[in-house]
Amino acid sequence: MLPRNKKNNFFSGPGIRTRTARGLLSLGALAIVYGVAAEIGRGRLPDRIWLGTHYVENVQLLPPYGSLAEEAVFLLQSGILLSSIAVSAGRVLLGFMLGAAFGILLGIATGRATRAEYLADPWVTFFRFTPALALLPLYVLWFGYGEGTKILLVASSVAVVTLLGAHQGVRSVPRVYLDAASALGAGPGLAFRKIVLPAALPHIFASLRIGLGLAWVTIVVAELIDARMPSLGYLLTLAGGYPRVSTMVVGIATIGALVLAFDLFALSVHARATRWMRRTG
């Protein structure tokens, strides 16, 4: 068991090739396990499911890869999958940008001015502890069933997270730094640009990443609850209604892949931004 320390970083110890190999190995093992289980289950798993009010026949609980591939091809060719992706991802992006902009600006404001923080406190606390999903019925009542409601819901949850991140980031600068800068002649605007903002950025980026994940979670459930075509949530709901398990699995896999892709993208942006910041001091 190797203890980890600062020197024991990503590039020391067993080489990166070994580590990637191990990762691929375990993923491959997982894939094989699933394939085997699906084959075994083909004959043995129950295919008659009680859905609370009625029985449903002919359900493949663990669809083998063949069915999955078939289903995936169908969904792609018919355009259903792609349009669902477009709709859901679009909502996520819009909601995310809206919420992030609002949250960061507000968070910076509350971080800088204590009075602003006290004013905003009850609101922030309220939104923080209300599960975003609980707001959905309210938003639906107020704004109807359209796109705006879902986007607003996503924006709400993202805003809370980014607000907290920006607030913490601004607050993370030690008082001593600010005093020293002040005593060296730096006015508030200059001190903010050169000291506070760079210190806050890591916190802000971390919260952006969390917010993105949260945005996806929110949109999926919002789409599940209020399902309209075309969206990934609706796809899942529909699949659950029949039920067509292979569609569900494809749908779930697609959502997972999208979330992963978005997260990796956010991560790379973060890395690039940190490198750029380090270079320009």
Partner: protein, 289 residues
């Protein structure tokens, strides 16, 4: 500086007061339909009905708010028929949250610590974890239902899953950031492996893990409410959406007063649990130091 502290309370109250005031004005101004912006009185009525669990006697003729009818909505009616009370629902949801935490937290921490301390485990498990984490727990709920039917387990699994996935990250980072010097120092003092783990590694990783706990609590609430809104006939999520299962979701007209009552109740409960977690964390970290 101390002037600001006393301002804290005043400004907070002022902010709340402004909101209540503007809300009351808005709801009484008849600018928007009362179905959308229920006056405070209706909210209070809904609240009391839901707490007590029964309908009050019908309103009298000379009612003050004769502009729009004071009536117990269908929403409340449906709920009351099912014997639902506000505190009952809240208790049910809270129970689910606590169960999810009790099962998910240790699971997540174990996994995270394992991956953090052992490079090997990390290599093998990390990709799988990333894959699993990418799937929103509630997306799985329809699939799980096929396996387990409409049972309590079916509702609880997403919560446990979400909590565990959330707790892995702080445990992982907490373990990784334990400086090698701690271990070297302890080793040079002759500490054996088990002692090392207990006395050095765990306390060092502890604070990060505990900080993640508060976040896990918030996620647990969100997942619990979501799973109730989708798949349950009791609990707060159900209360808000209007009772009844799955298919009838979008048909029921939700009463905004009930929704508001539900949201406020949820926010309060979530805040209370977080405050508990914060206090517990503070206590434990002091002890660890």
């Amino acid at each position: 500086m101390e002037r600001l502290k006393s301002q804290r309370l005043m400004l907070g109250l002022a902010s709340l007061g402004a909101m209540v005031l503007s809300y009351t004005l808005l709801s009484h101004s008849h600018l928007l339909r009362p179905e959308i912006v229920p006056p405070a009185r209706e909210i209070a009525v809904a609240f009391s009905e839901l707490v007590v669990g029964t309908r009050p006697p019908p309103p009298m003729e000379g009612d003050v708010h004769a502009g729009h009818q004071m009536h117990s909505s269908d929403h409340v009616g449906t709920l009351l028929q099912q014997g639902v009370t506000l505190q009952g629902s809240l208790a049910i949801t809270a129970a689910r949250v606590l169960f999810g935490l009790a099962a998910g937290v240790p699971l997540g921490i174990l996994l995270g610590l394992l991956m953090g301390f052992s490079r090997r485990a990390d290599d093998y498990l990390h990709p799988i974890y990333v894959l699993l984490r990418s799937v929103p727990p509630l997306a799985l709920i329809t699939y799980v239902m096929l396996w387990l039917g409409h049972s309590e387990a079916h509702r609880l699994i997403p919560i446990v899953y979400a909590v565990a996935a959330t707790m892995v990250i702080p445990a992982y980072h907490g373990a990784r950031d334990v400086l090698g010097t701690y271990v070297l120092a302890a080793r040079s003092l002759g500490a054996r492996r088990w002692l090392l783990i207990r006395k050095v590694l765990v306390p060092a990783a502890g604070p990060t893990v505990l900080a993640g706990l508060r976040y896990a609590v918030a996620i647990a609430w969100m997942t619990a409410v979501g799973s109730e809104m989708l798949m349950s006939e009791n609990g707060m999520g159900n209360l808000i959406v209007g009772g009844g299962l799955w298919a009838s979701r979008t048909q029921t007209k939700a009463d905004p007063a009930v929704v508001i009552v539900g949201i406020v109740a949820l926010a309060t409960a979530g805040w209370a649990m977080d405050a508990l977690a914060k206090a517990g964390t503070a206590r434990l970290t002091r002890w660890v130091r």
